[in-house]
Every structure is written in structure tokens, then in C-alpha cells.
């Protein structure tokens, strides 16, 4: 198995962009030789929990026999036909590509691997070739001559390999003159694969956990309370004041939903402390929920059906607790679901109100349909109205740069708000090169369920363009922290930075807010939320 220790920068920098000598229509993949570039299959208990089809025993990509059901081909082709009818986008994406190549060099996985099948055009062609064979006259009559391929088991295995090498980041779509959304193609192929029992565990186990306990990690209500109370105590040690953390509080004005990694992992946790400090200072009437204890929705990486099943709890819990609207934390892909799927999937929510900031009175008309706003919008609005006292010098030990997490940037256009916040909370904020940020941001290389260790080589290859831009900011401006608004980023960018830009830490936007925020009645701040001494207070002891 690949591990960071035996992967070397100089080896991964030797990327050969010359297409392989073999015919692109040849689907064979040597999974044994490609260890480090694919993920393990789904655990049976998790698949059972979700009523998903699976073989009698767990299979491995290196096995010759993937234990497919006898009628696998029929399932896939029927499933494809159904989806072509159901999703007009899919049929359009199958028919309209003109092979202009605008997307070819835009994918982080192609840039980092040189594998031609990681060019979005060719990735989509893996499905398109089968579509052409089955559903177009030219393909039926002329076959290979017009790029039509028979659906075979090696083709299916090739789908598994390459559609789990796409992070659904949608950078390629920004450059496509026809707006073809390769992420949607990936989503639909993954749906088809799941129907014949092919899925990856880093997706199905978080999904099963989320279905069972409300969050990816499987944290039960008493564990949730324990973690939140601990965080409140920890924050007290830094600010010298008690912090109340409302949980399942009926009648609160706002339900606050965050990714579960915020109350489990590092460096996510410091963002959690930042939210808590902010809400205390403005006296927000909010509540966490032990049921809606996850913003993330790995269903997005599995199937439309699964998105809907996991997403249902959001509005249900808002209704049960009787809140007015929902506020969401620093999660990436959850915003693709909330912003672009939720209101269609769950319908109009007449019991909720259009979000209105209780502090500034701003009405967030943009969230009129979903009744849910992003914390960056909320906080930027507070700053804009002069409602927060901020001391940016408390972040002087950081020279931050900002990684636009794919979904907040490309799925909801949240480009200015995080920057506005950071410019008010930090004195040393710097940017990476223009073609690597905002809507052209480069993915962390580990999203869409691919952030698992057995896939580390591919993650680091996919992380090369982002890592390279971080290195640029490090060399040019001495950037020492990469901030982002996504829990997958916070989990996986540390490995990318350690490998491509060693010395750069990873953190969240609201961690910087929490550091800079001058709180009424606070003790003199000597350390930041990480317990590190502030600039000029180096004599202070870690807490």
C-alpha cells in the first residue's frame, strides 16, 4: 500500500502527458500495479443498512471476479435508459460534446497524473462510447469506427477506476463552451455502478452512519453533547468566560448545522471554537441538533436517491425544533446539496421564514427558497454593518491564503464573502495566482468520497496543482496557513501541503474570526484558538 513515506515529490513530478501507446478503446486496467490510485469496496454491513445490492462477500478491485449479478449488463443498460429519459442534461451531455479540448488540461487529476482518461472529455467518453453503441444509429451500425464500444466487464471496471478518480469539483465545466457538467456524468455512472453492487467504502460507510446516527462518524447524541461541552470548556480556557452551547433547544430562532468533522477532527475543531465565540459575542439565539448533526451529505457521491434520504433530516429537524430558519457552517459539498437540490427534493417549507439577521436586520432574499444561509454570508454581513469588534493583529502570526473550496465557490458563488471576512480579521492575507482561485479554484484532490488513505497516490497527484499554487504563495509571500471552508479540505489538504508545500498549515475562516474577535468581558487574549501564543506574546504558555 502507498503511504506518504514511500511517495516522493520528485517521482510524482515526473508526469508524462504523452498518451499511452495502446488504443484508448482498450479498457484494461492493472489494479494491482495501480495500488494507491483506487479505493476499497463498500463494507457489507453498511450496504445492508442502506438496502443496497451487493455480492455475498466483499470484493476487492484487485480480484479477477467482482462477483457481479448474472444480469449486470441488463441492470446497467436499463438504468442508463431510465436516466437518459429522466435527466435531459445527461442526454444533452452525451450528444453535444464537440471534442474541442477546452476541458482537457483543466482537471487536477489529469495535470497530476498525465493519464489521458483523466481528461474530462475522455472520462465522459468512457460512458459516451457505450451510449453511442446502444442508443445511436451511427453507433449501432458503424461501431468502433464512430467510437462506439460494447459494454463489457473490463469496461465496467474501467468506469469504476475513472469515475472514482473524479472529485465532482466541476472545474472543467467552467471552461466547457457547452457547459457540460462532468460531475453530473460521474454522479450518474456511480449510481449505475451501485446498482450492480460496486461502490466504495469511504462513501457507503459514512452514508450508513449518517442514516443511522445523523452524522458520518456515527456519533450518538450523548457523544455529541460530550464533544460540544468539552469544546465549550476548552474555549473558556482561552477567553476566560463561560460559553453556553444550546443543543436541541426548541423554539430557538436558528438551527445551526455543521459538518461532523468540526466536532471530531483537527484542524476543523478550531473553526468550531470560532463559531461558538462569535455566537456568544452577538448573543445569537441558536441551537445545534443531535439529529441534524451533519451538514455533509455523502449521498451526493453515491446517488440521487441517497442525497434525498440523508437530506430529509434538515427540514424535519427545523420543523421539530420550531426554528425560523437554518444557518450552515463551513462544509463544502453540503452547499451543493442545500443550494441546488434541497428545495426541489423536499419541497416548499412554509413553516420556515426567509432568513433575517437578528443583529443587522438584513434579509437574505437569496435564500428565499431554501431558508438556509451560509455562515460566511452571515458573518460578512455582521462585519459590513460594524457589529463586530475585531483585532486583526491577533492573527499576525499567520500569513493566510484562501483556498476556494469547490462547492461553495462553484456551486453557490461564495467568492467575496470569505475574502471580505479574512481581510477584516487578518493583516497579512495574500492570494494565490488568479487561475487557481475563485471559480477557477483547484480541488484538494480528495473530494467526492476519495479522501481515503489507500487512494493517497492519486490524491497527491490530484493535489499537485493546488499544492503548487500554495507553494507559490509560500515562496513569494511567506504564506503559512491555507484557509478553506470545507471539512474534506481540512481533512485532506494537510497531506497535500505536507507533500507539496511543507510548512503550510490548514485552517478555517471562522478560526480567524474567533482569533480576531474582541469579546465583551474577555480576559486579555494570550493564545489563539489553537492554544499557540499570539505574536508579541510568545512568553505565554500553551493552554
Amino acid at each position: 500500500m502507498s503511504s506518504e513515506e514511500n511517495l516522493k515529490q520528485e517521482d510524482l513530478l515526473k508526469v508524462d502527458y504523452k498518451p499511452a501507446a495502446k488504443d484508448w478503446q482498450d479498457p484494461t486496467i492493472d489494479f494491482e500495479a495501480k495500488r494507491g490510485n483506487w479505493c476499497y469496496s463498500g463494507v457489507l454491513d453498511s450496504l445492508d443498512y442502506l438496502d443496497m445490492p451487493h455480492p455475498e462477500k466483499k470484493w476487492a478491485p484487485t480480484d479477477e471476479d467482482w462477483l457481479l449479478p448474472e444480469n449486470w449488463k441488463e441492470i446497467i443498460l436499463d438504468g442508463l435508459r431510465l436516466r437518459l429519459d429522466r435527466f435531459r442534461t445527461l442526454r444533452l451531455f452525451m450528444d453535444t460534446c464537440v471534442r474541442c479540448g477546452a476541458c482537457a488540461d483543466k482537471c487536477h487529476f489529469f495535470i497530476g497524473s498525465g493519464d489521458a482518461k483523466n481528461m474530462p472529455v475522455l472520462r465522459a467518453e468512457l460512458l459516451r462510447s457505450v451510449y453511442r453503441k446502444e442508443y445511436t444509429l451511427a453507433g449501432k451500425l458503424m461501431g468502433k469506427m464512430v467510437g462506439a464500444r460494447e459494454l463489457t466487464i473490463p469496461v465496467l471496471k474501467e468506469w469504476f477506476y475513472y469515475f472514482y478518480q473524479c472529485t465532482e469539483c466541476r472545474r472543467c465545466s467552467v471552461f466547457c463552451p457547452y457547459g457540460i457538467d462532468t460531475a453530473e456524468i460521474t454522479m450518474l455512472v456511480r449510481e449505475l455502478l451501485a446498482e450492480v453492487g460496486l461502490s466504495i467504502d469511504w462513501i457507503v460507510t459514512p452514508v450508513a452512519n449518517s442514516f443511522r446516527t445523523g452524522n458520518h462518524l456515527g456519533i450518538q447524541p450523548h457523544g455529541f453533547v460530550d464533544s460540544m461541552e468539552f469544546a465549550a470548556d476548552d474555549l473558556k480556557d482561552i477567553i476566560g468566560m463561560d460559553v453556553e452551547v444550546p443543543i436541541n433547544k426548541k423554539g430557538a430562532e436558528i438551527l445551526f448545522i455543521i459538518p461532523s468533522a468540526d466536532y471530531f477532527a483537527e484542524p476543523h475543531y478550531y473553526t468550531l471554537l470560532g463559531y461558538m465565540a462569535l455566537f456568544k459575542e452577538i448573543g445569537l439565539d441558536y441551537t445545534f441538533s443531535t439529529f441534524a448533526s451533519e451538514g455533509g451529505n455523502f449521498g451526493l457521491f453515491h446517488s440521487h436517491e441517497m442525497i434525498k434520504r440523508l437530506n430529509a433530516k434538515t427540514y424535519e429537524e427545523a420543523k421539530r425544533l420550531g426554528v425560523r430558519y437554518i444557518l450552515g457552517g463551513e462544509c463544502g459539498h453540503m452547499w451543493r446539496v442545500y443550494h441546488q437540490y434541497m428545495s426541489t427534493m423536499q419541497g416548499e417549507q412554509s413553516n420556515l421564514e426567509v432568513p433575517k439577521s437578528p443583529i443587522t436586520g438584513t434579509v437574505f432574499e437569496n435564500a428565499k427558497t431554501t431558508k438556509m444561509i451560509h455562515i460566511a454570508e452571515f458573518t460578512a454581513d455582521l462585519i459590513k454593518h460594524g457589529k463586530l469588534k475585531l483585532d486583526p493583529s491577533r492573527n499576525d502570526h499567520w500569513t493566510p491564503t484562501y483556498h476556494d473550496s469547490c462547492n461553495p465557490a462553484r456551486a453557490m458563488g461564495l467568492l467575496e464573502e470569505p475574502r471580505y471576512i479574512l481581510q477584516h480579521c487578518c493583516n497579512n492575507f495574500v492570494e494565490m495566482p488568479d487561475n487557481t482561485i475563485r471559480e477557477k479554484t483547484f480541488c484538494c484532490g480528495s473530494g467526492a468520497g476519495l479522501g481515503t488513505d489507500e487512494n493517497l497516490e492519486m490524491r497527491l497527484r490530484g493535489g499537485l496543482p493546488r499544492g503548487n499554487a500554495v507553494k507559490y504563495a509560500q515562496d513569494k509571500y511567506n504564506a503559512n496557513i491555507l484557509l478553506c471552508m470545507c471539512a474534506i479540505d481540512k481533512a485532506t489538504l494537510p497531506a497535500v501541503c505536507d507533500f507539496w508545500a511543507p510548512g503550510v498549515q490548514v485552517g478555517g475562516v471562522h478560526e480567524m474570526v474567533g482569533n480576531a474577535l474582541i469579546m465583551t468581558g474577555e480576559e486579555e487574549r494570550k493564545v489563539d484558538l489553537r492554544g499557540q501564543p499570539l505574536s508579541g506574546k510568545e512568553g505565554a504558555k500553551d493552554v
Binding site: N209, L217, G218, S227, F230, H268, G451, A487, A491
Partner: protein, 105 residues
């Protein structure tokens, strides 16, 4: 699922070597699992971390927050990495027989 054998220990493990049945964990199993984690010897400090994780797991069915583990065991994250090179979640939890944390971690 694979069977992992070390001295007289025989347990079922997943692809990463995490225990499939955390309930059959005992101290000998911890030694067996440590041998896969580049941990040569389980010192008193190692046991402090492992026992804390076990106790928390019994109570909550999951590993504690990393920050909580550090603060309550008195070790910095770096010290935990020094003890368990794969880190608290993937190294220490594995030796303590806990399931692998999944999601955005």
C-alpha cells in the same frame, strides 16, 4: 475480510488492519496490532492513550475528539504522532481496537 495472526493472536481485520470485532480486543491484541503500526513497544505512555480510547469507546461507541484525547491524556498531538506514527485516528485507534473513523476526517 482477512485474518491477522501474531503469536497466538488470531483476529479478523479489514484492508487497513483495523479489527472487525472491537469487542474481542484485549491487551495481547493491542500488542499484535501495534506490531503493524511501526510501534515496537507499548510503553506506559502508549497504554495511557490506548486505555483512554478504550474507556471512551465503551461509553460513547466512538473515538473521542482528537483535541479531547490530547487534553485529557496530557499529550500534544505531536507527541501522539511520535508514539503512533499514523496518528491518533489511524494509529492509536487501531491499536486500541476501535473502528476506523470515516467521513471528512
Amino acid at each position: 475480510m482477512a485474518t491477522f495472526e501474531w503469536e497466538d493472536v488470531k483476529i479478523e481485520v479489514d484492508e487497513d488492519g483495523f479489527m472487525e470485532e472491537p469487542d474481542v480486543w484485549n491487551e495481547k491484541v493491542a500488542l499484535a496490532l501495534a506490531s503493524t503500526e511501526a510501534v515496537d513497544e507499548l510503553t506506559e505512555d502508549h497504554w495511557k492513550v490506548v486505555n483512554y480510547l478504550r474507556d471512551y469507546y465503551k461509553q460513547f461507541g466512538i473515538a473521542p475528539m482528537i483535541r479531547k484525547l490530547c487534553k485529557q491524556s496530557g499529550f500534544t498531538l505531536k507527541e501522539i504522532y511520535d508514539m503512533f506514527p499514523s496518528g491518533p485516528a489511524k494509529g492509536a485507534c487501531k491499536v486500541a481496537g476501535l473502528p476506523k473513523p470515516t467521513g471528512c476526517v
